[in-house]
């Protein structure tokens, strides 16, 4: 059996108190393995983003256990989780979240700088990454000078620059047109081929289901089905036809 990149058991997370309380995760179980591109799909409001946040260690869950890359992050202190994210996780957000006042090069160097790398070294690696996503020669530009798809490519460069073993993406293509979305997914599925890496993507977008090695389906705060191999093809077939 493949090595587990993530395993989560019985994760419960609620927001708010009293009447305003919503139970976003109601005992979700989840598993992803190294070397795969894993999609989390499901209807709006079913808890995808919440689960992703918990798995990424950016949100503390109320109950349950989460292990990421062999570390039980639910047992770590706040500072330890922060250090863990810094070392092992790359992030790609729906809104790209590049820092507008920094150049592309500076934006991409941030994860390395956070790890304490020197500026020269960080920028050299960042330039390499930018070249890999097809943006060489534009290192000094600002994010606002780029199209959405280009910005998302910068975000991918940033997420991969420190060679994290887990890459977390929330709706990476939903702000993009179909062609650009496919370019982005090509880059991400390429990234998933790196040894020992897992790329985890939350999406609404059936057009990109075909990139998945495995799909976890969520409904109402739980993971209700996991598709891979044969069942994956039929799931994708059904989803894209409707």
């Amino acid at each position: 059996m493949e090595a587990a990149a993530i395993s989560a058991r019985a994760v419960v997370k609620s927001f708010g108190v009293g009447d305003a309380r919503t139970l976003a995760l109601k005992g979700a179980d989840f598993r992803a393995v190294e070397g795969e591109l894993h999609l989390i799909v499901g209807p709006s409001g079913c808890g995808k983003t919440t689960l992703l946040s918990v798995l990424a260690g950016t949100l503390e869950c109320d109950q349950g256990e989460v292990s990421v890359l062999g570390t039980r992050i639910t047992a770590l202190s706040n500072a330890e989780v922060t250090r863990f994210r810094r070392g092992h996780i790359g992030f790609i957000f729906q809104q790209f979240n590049l820092i507008p006042t920094l150049s592309l090069l500076e934006n991409v160097s941030v994860p390395l700088l956070l790890q304490g790398a020197g500026r020269r070294e960080a920028e050299a690696k960042a330039a390499e990454r930018l070249a890999q996503v097809g943006l060489s020669g534009r290192e000094r530009q600002r994010p606002s000078q780029l199209s959405g798809g280009q910005q998302q490519r910068v975000a991918i460069a940033r997420a991969l620059v420190h060679e994290p073993r887990l890459v977390i993406c929330d709706e990476p293509t939903s702000a993009l047109d179909s062609v650009t979305g496919h370019q982005i997914m090509d880059l991400l599925s390429g990234a998933a081929r790196a040894p020992g890496r897992c790329v985890l993507i939350v999406t609404h977008d059936p057009r990109i289901y075909g990139y998945a090695d495995r799909i976890s389906e969520m409904e109402d705060g739980r993971v209700t089905a996991v598709h891979s191999g044969e069942s994956l093809s039929s799931f994708i077939h059904a989803a894209t036809r409707s």
Partner: protein, 381 residues
């Protein structure tokens, strides 16, 4: 990351200039007001630098140098007889009215020096010879008195040696011009001998304003002053004592310190308000970016350090500009000593500390906000 922090701030031009401007204004207000205040305070003790004496003996109820209560002429001899006193001389000090060539009345600060010693004479003569005030109806005036709009009025030019004017219907002939430090009351100095000053001043039963004394060489000034006070029942101040007492008097009896302090505190408060507000909104606008940094593994400590660096940086730049403007003010507007202006290095450091405190406070609100920030917000649309 600290370079990144600075670039984040510099990238937001309007906030950056707002912060720098607010802090520059605050620094300017604090330092400029303080230095004018210091200048004004120094005017209150300028008598002591214009009539230098080691011991100042005054009537027992007088507690500052600008106030006089007349003593008996015989008090001079009582002071002279105190052990340790080398010599003691009378001094007349009073505000009199002088009449200029065109018949206008101008107030002057009349000083009557002991004719034999001329002890208490002004520190620097510009023209003429101080000993000439011993001649009948002769005075030495300071440069302020000589000005065209002071005693020179009616002549259309500054007063010169040989010119005359009137004090209380008596002629006063200028035999010299001296340099003085400006006095708090704003009246120019006119020096004459003690006896002539009494002639110029309206006749009163007691005319002696002060006694200036010098201790014997090698004796302790403070000790001699203490002995004079004990033996004569008068008050005897050393220079530092009288300076302190005069300043205390200004603090307790005039509204000047309070009004300046209010402005200085206002400068501080405005600085806190403007920069705190601006910086906080800068932080709020950057919350998504800060959240993204946090998600990517920036700890609270690092983010706090970044915010602090940003605010202290604008603080230092603002302070630099503010101090520059204050210095410019000192070199231009206040050049002629009007308004008075006295730079003090110590206060520059205090103002710098205040500005850094302002920045730290401003950053603190942002730091608290960022500490509470859930990095997961960046996943929300």
């Amino acid at each position: 990351m600290f370079l990144i922090a600075l670039k984040m701030l510099l990238g937001d031009r309007s906030k950056y200039w707002m912060l720098v401007g607010g802090l520059a204004f605050s620094s300017l207000l604090m330092t400029q007001q303080y230095f004018v205040f210091q200048g004004l305070l120094s005017w209150t003790t300028s008598h002591m630098r214009n009539m230098r004496a080691s011991i100042w003996v005054v009537e027992s109820r007088v507690d500052q140098v600008n106030e006089t209560k007349a003593m008996r002429d015989t008090d001079v001899n009582r002071v002279r007889s105190v052990d340790g006193v080398d010599f003691a001389v009378p001094l007349f000090q009073g505000v009199l009215k002088a009449r200029t060539a065109d018949g206008a009345d101008k107030m002057i600060q009349m000083i009557g020096l002991h004719s034999g010693t001329l002890y208490g004479r002004p520190p620097r003569m510009i023209e003429g010879d101080i000993t000439q005030i011993r001649l009948p109806n002769s005075v030495i005036i300071d440069t302020l008195a000589a000005e065209t709009n002071r005693l020179g009025a009616g002549l259309g030019r500054p007063l010169r040696i040989g010119d005359t004017f009137e004090i209380n219907d008596r002629e006063a002939r200028v035999v010299g011009i001296c340099q003085t430090e400006r006095h708090f009351f704003g009246y120019p100095y006119v020096f004459s001998t003690y006896d002539q000053a009494l002639q110029y001043a309206p006749r009163q039963r007691k005319m002696l304003s002060m006694i200036l004394a010098e201790p014997k060489p090698g004796s302790d000034v403070a000790e001699v002053a203490r002995r004079i006070a004990a033996e004569t029942g008068l008050r005897a101040y050393t220079v530092p004592q009288l300076e302190k007492s005069t300043l205390r008097w200004v603090w307790t009896n005039t509204g000047i310190p309070i009004s300046f302090l209010t402005t200085i505190i206002l400068g501080f408060v405005v600085g806190v308000a403007v920069s705190g507000q601006t910086f906080y909104s800068f932080v709020l606008e950057n919350l998504r970016n800060l959240g993204a940094l946090k998600a990517m593994g920036a700890g609270n400590g690092l983010l706090a350090g970044m915010l602090l660096l940003q605010s202290v940086t604008v603080g230092l730049i603002g302070f630099g500009i503010g101090i520059g403007l204050t210095a410019l003010f000192g070199l231009t507007v206040a050049k002629g000593g009007q308004p008075p202006f006295k730079m003090e290095a110590l206060f520059l450091f205090q103002a710098l500390a205040a500005v850094i405190l302002i920045c730290a406070l401003a950053a603190l609100f942002g730091i608290r906000r960022v500490a509470k920030l859930e990095p997961a917000i960046v996943f929300r649309g």
